[in-house]
């Protein structure tokens, strides 16, 4: 929710956690036309061909037309990075097994995050089915303020310096966001 909230960083981290943690075939899908992840494979940003990095298959710049085709692939997990574009792909977002909304709740961004949550479509319709994640949190009081204002629960995102190498100390965070939606990964 909002620019530079850390959605792509978290999605890549989640994909690597699932793939390397459980040896599950995992695909990462970049939605919203941003064309940012091609640099991972040192590819030109116009190159939309999928590539593999650390056994995760990355699909750059997946459009709404191609989405169904990619989702038909034989993967155990699909991590869809909507970026800030979930509003334009509401149906695809609603059909996901786990719906994560990440926002920047640092002191000068938390108000904007709170307003966005209050106005969002998923807040009105599927509030209880969305897991809210708070990034760049400075103190618990900021978290509680937003929670109270929006009537939601926020899970703080831990410091993940390298999304391609998840420290095992952060397993608890990923397991928690998976459990929130009762998704079994066994």
């Amino acid at each position: 929710m909002g620019h530079c909230a850390g959605a792509t960083h978290l999605c890549i981290a989640l994909a690597n956690f699932l793939c390397s943690g459980f040896f599950a075939d995992t695909a990462y899908l970049e939605l919203g036309g941003r064309r940012e992840i091609s640099s991972i494979a040192r590819k030109h940003s116009d190159d939309d061909r999928p590539f593999i990095h650390q056994r995760v298959v990355y699909y750059p710049n997946v459009t709404a037309n191609r989405l169904a085709e990619v989702l038909a692939g034989r993967y155990r997990y699909f991590v869809l990075d909507f970026g800030g574009q979930a509003l334009h792909m509401q149906q695809a977002f609603s059909e996901c097994s786990i719906r994560l909304v990440i926002g920047n709740i640092c002191p000068w961004k938390k108000s904007q995050f709170a307003r966005s949550v209050q106005k969002s479509f998923y807040n009105k319709k599927t509030k209880e089915d969305v897991v809210y994640l708070g990034n760049y949190m400075e103190c618990k009081s900021d978290q509680r303020e937003v929670e109270k204002k929006c009537g939601i629960n926020i899970i703080p995102v831990p410091y993940l310096p390298d999304p391609f190498r998840i420290a095992s100390e952060n397993f608890g965070f990923f397991e928690k966001i998976m459990e929130e939606n009762e998704l079994s990964h066994e």
């Binding site: 040896f23 998840i166 095992s168």
Partner: protein, 452 residues
């Protein structure tokens, strides 16, 4: 004629017994009658060696004050002999010390190297006249507890401004090659000998030395003097740095567990070992490094297993299953890392302190014998065989074929359980001693076989 034992030197010393025989004289243990203290008296016959030797050694020693160098008290002479009275050092030569110890720890290795360098640094930087020792060999290093003392300065001499007025004799095995060709000795000669002594000691270290140490030894013992360390100080600094880099590793030992074939019990023994080590007060963690996924399958069937931060805990067990490259697990924890490599008999874990090679099975699985026989030589120095699922006779055969110590593992159904036999096994691995029951008996048998 008085016997040596009755001989009283200058009315002050009584010769008690012979300590050793050198090329230039014999060393006796003597007692100062008045002070009631022991001395070492070196008796050098006038006819056996020129006067230069006795006087040279005395002149060298009397100028020295270092805990690693014996004090000289007197130089006497009569018509037959020279008598050099020195501090009596109680201990055993490095050669005998290593023979009796069979193995030394990395810490002791570094300590001995550091002390040796300290002695030579002192000698080479003496002012106004530095000294070259030139006859370093294991017999001239006496180990007193954990302190070394350097003896026999008969070949050493001062470095003079006009060159070194030395007639070098030294020894072939540990002396620098340029000395054999008659070149003028330099401090590089002593550095070469120090490197050879380090190399000599490194063969007895009970765990693998880091490649840095081997590089240091190679440089110190380079054939060309200019390729060696310029000073003993440089050598000492390199050793110190290498030791600092491995201090953390010393705190953490690595035991690699490798199996000879699937089903021989590699994972079972690795898990058992971790449980046993933790039970006796060590800190051990299991790391799965094979693709069998055995640990995950096992814990799925055990509701009492807890998982936290990617690590499974059950009683005394703590361990990580295999993860992909996208997961970083902490490997810097102090203690013992038990790494389960599964069945990869040709794999050599270079950094492991100990290697446990699991073999065994029913008697018709004869391929195990062939596998043991063909083990890479690089493994054998750090390896212990674990004979599992077989009888004593098979274990003896493994010992004979491999030349390595063998432990006959007891019948065990639950790797997460702990008992007296596993305690003995863990204590033997952790401390290298203790009542190991069947292991001792097998080891004795193995030793008898070798002596035939």
């Amino acid at each position: 004629m008085k016997t040596k034992k009755e001989f009283i030197l200058s009315g002050r010393y009584q010769i008690l017994e012979t300590l050793g025989q050198g090329s230039d004289g014999t060393v006796y243990l003597a007692r100062h009658k008045s002070l009631e203290t022991d001395r070492a008296v070196k008796i050098i016959p006038r006819k056996a060696a020129p006067s230069l030797f006795a006087i040279s050694e005395a002149n060298v020693l009397k100028a020295l004050r270092h805990p690693g160098i014996p004090t000289i008290y007197d130089l006497e002479e009569d018509e037959d002999n020279y008598y050099l009275v020195e501090e009596y050092i109680q201990g055993e030569s490095l050669e005998l010390f290593l023979l009796h110890q069979q193995s030394i720890s990395r810490n002791l290795f570094f300590k001995l190297c550091e002390q040796l360098c300290d002695i030579f640094l002192y000698l080479h930087t003496l002012s106004p006249r530095p000294i070259l020792y030139l006859d370093l060999k294991p017999e001239h290093i006496i180990v007193c507890g954990q302190q070394i003392r350097l003896i026999d300065f008969s070949v050493s001499a001062f470095i003079s401004g006009s060159g070194n007025d030395i007639r070098h004799f030294g020894n072939l095995a540990f002396s620098a090659p340029e000395l054999r060709s008659g070149q003028t000795p330099t401090p590089a000669c002593d550095i070469y000998s120090i490197g050879k002594i380090m190399e000599f000691m490194s063969r007895c270290v009970d765990s693998a030395l880091s490649p840095n140490i081997l590089t240091i030894i190679r440089k110190a013992t380079a054939a060309e003097p200019e390729s060696r360390y310029e000073t003993v100080g440089d050598l000492s600094a390199a050793l110190l740095q290498a030791n600092d880099n491995t201090v953390g590793m010393h705190l953490r030992q690595t035991i690699a567990v490798i199996g000879s074939h699937p089903g021989c019990g590699t994972t079972h023994i690795a898990i058992s070992l971790v449980c046993a080590l933790n039970a006796i007060g060590q800190t051990a963690v299991y790391y799965e490094r094979n693709s069998t996924d055995t640990l995950r399958r096992a814990v799925r069937m055990m509701p009492q297993v807890r998982e936290r931060d990617g690590c499974y805990y059950c009683g005394c067990f703590a361990g990580y299953p295999l993860y992909g490259e996208g997961i970083a697990i902490p490997e810097g924890r102090a203690g013992i890392a038990v790494i389960d490599f599964g069945c990869r008999s040709s794999f050599i874990p270079a950094a492991a302190d100990q290697i446990l090679y699991v073999c065994g099975g029913t008697f018709w699985q004869g391929h195990d014998m062939a596998a043991v026989k063909e083990l890479p030589a690089a493994l054998k120095g750090r390896m212990r065989l674990i004979a599992n699922l077989c009888d004593r006779q098979a274990a003896i055969s493994y010992a004979r074929l491999s030349g390595a110590p063998v432990y006959l593992y007891p019948c065990d159904t639950n790797p997460f359980a702990f008992g007296p036999e596993k305690q003995r096994f863990a204590q033997w691995l952790a401390y290298g001693k203790g009542d190991t029951g069947l292991f001792l008996k097998l080891k004795n048998y193995f030793c008898r076989l070798l002596q035939r």
